[in-house]
């Protein structure tokens, strides 16, 4: 038995010591090349002199010269099919006429996706670009302050071997940039996940948060559309644990973790936080550790120290399989809103002005009350559209009397004005406007609407009644008119006065109707540690896909130990590092389990 073991060891040693060992030396000498691997069956041979007859030297070995326009002293060789590259290398290496021999290494262009809005994705490649539709300042980046994805994508873009569960408000799984990358749940979960809010199998996103998070992880890349995720190909499981307002519970979150773990997820993203230590959720995350699942969470958006009395869970949990992520801006400063904590928050990642997929789209309908200066609302008198100076600017208002703010409105009046708007289909709609009013006691301004056309005060719903005198222009006042979506919607104002007269009247401004509905083609910019955590989740999936033998502990270690040291994170996170995809891909743990056997 011992003899057999020694024999096998010797065999291995001989293999290492011969051709393959030399192959490795040659490859190391060509360390500047880009990419990995080489063309099977091909070599590049440099001869000391072209006069030595390179073609003859190749032919005598049974190899062929591939026509190339190279220098005269090197040739591109195709070896015989029966030989490996390692064997063929050996046949040239001892030839005194040969200067050097090497494999025909494979190079490739640095990978950048062709998605329409990829230039906006500073987190993936920061060129110092300003983000269109930004909502966080500063919106001027520092080139190179990014996650080094361009390099990493040279090596891997497909993370679809790793299931990433997004525990959030659901996902619009029909979105054009997500649909190809959603988890296939089979007949049991045909909608790519499940829903622990409504307790059904439909995790459609009614809020938008989860869809944005999912796009950061795995919006399909290089499809010429929208944006690109960390992973161009992904396997995203939608687990709805937050309702349409963005709230979840211990019950919904814990069921979500258990579902994800039980259905094959190896990475869980929870861009979620609460202030209370939650032993039940903690136990679920601990159980996920036993199933080798990494849990990536957001640090929270209170600009607070998680370790200093402003605890945020699950970030503050100490599970080994948990990574807590805070947010960096485009200059790699800690985002103004971002939580931190030297004992609880592990790493930083981009979290401001992040463009990603949107579940919902909002249509804005505005109205200036006139066409070429003439009131274009239906009115039997009293109302007019006119310009009104507000500070240094003039805006169009809907006024009664027409001379507002001069003059007074009529006494004994019931003056109505209304207009019908065709609203697109959607899930919700709001009416908003500002108002300035000065009304005598007993007089009023009513606001109403009706589904359909016609006088909304004859048949419709009263939204509000204003009385008295406002302190200048007030508002905007916002009202839910969701019943109108997909229909004509008539909005009206009604000035009702008694016998007395002498007050200034009313002026309506900033009139707007917003309709929100599902969209499969929309994108939006958001800020938050919620946007930073999925950057790390995408990287976790990438690392596990690249290193199939990785454990969740390996993934978390590779992310936190190999990131880029960033001054703004020093003393504010456990690692002081921002995540860096290429560095994490290149990370190698030291060998373990050394043992010696004496012969």
């Amino acid at each position: 038995m011992i003899r057999a073991s020694i024999a096998s060891l010797v065999a291995v040693f001989l293999l290492i010591g011969d051709d393959v060992g030399r192959l490795a030396v040659v490859r190391t000498a060509a360390a500047q090349r880009v990419g990995t691997g080489y063309v099977e069956g091909e070599l590049i041979v440099r001869f000391k002199s072209a006069a030595a007859g390179p073609h003859a030297a190749v032919a005598m070995r049974g190899h062929a010269v591939v026509p190339s326009q190279g220098a005269a002293n090197w040739v591109h060789v195709r070896v015989s099919p029966a030989e490996s590259v390692a064997q063929a290398l050996a046949t040239y290496r001892n030839d005194p006429a040969v200067e050097s021999v090497q494999p025909n290494y494979i190079y490739r262009a640095h990978a950048l996706p062709n998605d329409a809005q990829v230039s906006q994705l500073w987190a993936l490649r920061n060129t110092g670009q300003a983000v269109v539709s930004s909502s966080y300042s500063p919106n001027a980046g520092t080139a190179g302050d990014d996650m080094n994805l361009e390099r990493a994508w040279d090596h891997i873009t497909d993370c679809s071997s790793v299931v990433v569960a997004v525990l959030d408000s659901g996902i619009n799984y029909n979105h054009e940039d997500l649909a190809p990358n959603m988890w296939a749940g089979g007949s049991a979960f045909p909608r790519h996940g499940t829903d622990f809010v409504d307790n059904d199998d439909d995790p459609m996103d009614a809020n938008g948060h989860g869809t944005h998070v999912a796009g950061i992880i795995g919006a399909m890349g290089n499809n010429g559309t929208g944006v690109a995720g960390i992973c161009w190909q992904a396997n995203i499981m939608a687990v709805r644990v937050l309702d349409a307002q963005g709230f979840g519970t211990t019950a919904s979150l814990t069921q979500g973790v258990n579902f994800a773990v039980g259905h094959g997820a190896k990475v869980i993203n929870m861009s979620i936080g609460g202030a209370s230590f939650d032993p039940v959720l903690s136990a679920a995350i601990a159980d996920a550790a036993t199933k080798d699942v990494a849990v990536i969470v957001a640090a929270g958006n209170d600009a607070a120290n998680v370790d200093g009395g402003a605890a945020e869970y699950p970030c503050a949990f100490k599970h080994a399989n948990l990574l807590c992520v805070t947010a960096l801006d485009q200059q790699y400063a800690l985002a103004a809103f971002a939580n931190y904590g030297a004992a609880s928050v592990d790493v930083g990642a981009p979290g401001t002005n992040i463009l990603s997929s949107a579940a919902l789209q909002t249509w804005n309908i505005t109205d200036g009350f006139n066409t070429f200066g003439a009131l274009d609302w239906t009115s039997a008198g009293g109302w007019a559209s006119r310009p009104l100076s507000l500070g240094a600017r003039s805006i169009d208002v809907l006024a009664n009397p027409a001379t507002f703010p001069s003059g007074t409105y009529a006494s004994g009046a019931d003056q109505r004005v209304y207009k019908a708007f065709m609203l697109p289909p959607g899930t919700s709609a709001t009416l908003s406007f500002s108002v300035q009013h000065a009304l005598l006691s007993g007089d009023s301004l009513m606001v109403g609407y009706r589904v359909g056309t016609g006088d909304p005060f004859a048949s419709g719903a009263l939204l509000q009644t204003f009385t008295g005198t406002s302190n200048g222009t007030m508002g905007p006042f916002v009202y839910d008119i969701s019943a109108c979506t997909g229909s004509p919607c008539t909005v009206g104002f009604r000035l009702s006065s008694g016998a007395a007269s002498g007050a200034q009247g009313v002026a309506i401004s900033a009139f707007q109707i917003n309709v929100t509905g599902p969209s499969n083609v929309s994108y939006r910019v958001l800020n938050g540690t919620s946007m930073a955590a999925p950057q790390a989740s995408g990287l976790a999936a990438m690392l596990r896909a690249y290193n199939p033998q990785y454990t969740s502990a390996d993934v978390i270690n590779a992310i936190s130990a190999s990131g880029r040291p960033v001054a703004s994170l020093a003393g504010r996170t456990t690692s002081g590092r921002a995540i860096d995809a290429m560095s994490s891909l290149a990370h190698i743990n030291p060998p373990t389990g050394l043992a010696a056997t004496f012969h």
């Binding site: 490859r27 360390a31 880009v34 361009e150 190698i588 060998p591 043992a595 010696a596 056997t597």
Partner: protein, 90 residues
């Protein structure tokens, strides 16, 4: 006792770059030239090497290396060294 053959073995790396062309291990034995144990073929790089050592105590460490580097090139990236294994030959 004179020189003796010793097989040094270690647990396989879970990093893919170690177990691909360009990857492998480097064994350092105090005072001796490091021994390269490169990936050769198959699913994993070798995880042992046999050397002949003179009598005495030898400090052995192993580093893993891969073909990727943090800048995206293929210059070898080494791990930190393993814990030291003291090999004592009488």
């Amino acid at each position: 006792m004179g020189p003796a053959a010793v097989t040094i073995a270690w647990a396989p790396s879970r990093e893919a770059s170690v177990n691909r062309p360009g990857g492998g291990y480097e064994v350092a034995i105090g005072g001796l030239e490091p021994i390269d144990v490169p990936y050769a073929s198959g699913t994993a790089a070798p995880t042992s090497t046999t050397v002949t050592l003179p009598s005495g105590t030898h400090a052995v460490t192993v580093r893993a290396y891969g073909a990727l580097d943090a800048t995206g090139g293929t210059t070898r990236t080494f791990s930190a060294a393993s814990q030291v294994l003291a090999v004592r030959l009488k």
